[in-house]
Symmetry: C2
Subunit: 181 residues, 2 copies
DNA sequence: CCTGAAGACTTCAACACTAAAGTTAGACCC
DNA sequence: GGGTCTAACTTTAGTGTTGAAGTCTTCAGG
């Protein structure tokens, strides 16, 4: 079902409905937030469909990407992987089990410190990553094809400014964002 | 664990690493896509933390939102709910079970067509939605506070144009987006 | 050495989701 | 009005995730 089309009202209908139900709504803010959420959901469905053609899941692709980002020799401990992916160590253990049995990664004890485990990308894993990467960047190019280079730049900068607010701030007890600086 | 902080390299580091590993990468596109993905993940963690203070999960909040969007009397069938949320009907059955046992919704057979089931928001469910909505819009306002009104407008319009491409197109066999129009 | 404590996974039980099979009410046909 | 079809859920079996408990090194004292 992960590849199924999602059926929703149009964005404008949705915002109008929220305004009807919640008078205090700022339509401009809502527009940004709703578009962001929808876009992301659709993109994840699309990525899932693409990597499925390579025989891997979105979850496995996330692991491949994280290992590649570490740079050669593409190694990382399960704990570190879990932190980057926002998973519990338990989930990571199982995910690595699967991926190791599929030959995408190897899992070995660190010889210098036998408590530590080292997950390393196999050649097959790296190849899968490359194939997925090619499909993903084609898709991403298609996605932005209606935007000029300038517009893409503006979009990127605006998103990064919003991202900074969420990455560089800590929510207080009530969930409000306050500066850390 | 759903409320845990995520640890990642900075966006610029990440893009530099991808360029090292994948020469064909368009950094401008990657910047937009990566910022989008990160932003969304952080926002979902933040929403999850907020609604958790009301004793509900993100999943339950999605259902509340969908029912409210339907407008008074806030009714919808499980199948329709499932389609809007991108879930299987089976998952919907269980989610409604939980929410009914928590008093957020009621589940009844349609008197006119006893195959159909009607899920209806309770007053308690509507109250929870309102509380969650207030927290969410405060958070969303904070999120965009570094952007001027003009910038918010531009961001919204650019996102909507990208969204249109993904909503109005169908991926072909290779996953490329082609116009439906 | 031996003990206690901390760190880094792994195992276990419970829960949520998917795909597929099952159930039941209404619709259509003769 | 009985047989078959379809629609709309529900049930079942299997997989993936979480939180908590367990295991196995390593390290710091005594």
């Amino acid at each position: 079902m992960t590849g199924q089309a999602i059926q929703e009202p149009t964005l404008d209908e949705q915002i109008a409905a929220y305004q009807r139900e919640y008078g205090d709504l700022d339509p401009q803010v809502e527009k940004v937030v709703s578009a962001l959420g929808r876009l992301n959901r659709r993109m994840n469905v699309a990525y899932g469909r693409q990597v499925a053609t390579l025989g891997i899941s979105n979850a496995e692709w996330e692991v491949l990407k994280t290992l590649v980002l570490a740079g050669t020799p593409y190694r990382m401990g399960p704990g570190e992987l879990a932190k980057r992916l926002g998973l519990t160590p338990a989930a990571m253990t199982h995910r690595i089990d699967r991926m190791a049995s599929e030959g995408l990664v190897t899992r070995d004890r660190d010889e210098n410190n036998r408590v530590r485990v080292i997950v390393e990308l196999t050649d097959e894993g790296r190849t899968k990553w490359l194939e997925a990467m090619r499909m993903a960047s084609d898709f991403e190019g298609d996605l932005l094809q209606d935007l000029s280079a300038d517009e893409r730049g503006v979009l990127g900068e605006l998103l990064i400014r919003v991202l900074r607010r969420v990455e560089h701030t800590q929510p207080d007890a009530g969930g409000r964002l306050t500066d850390l600086d």
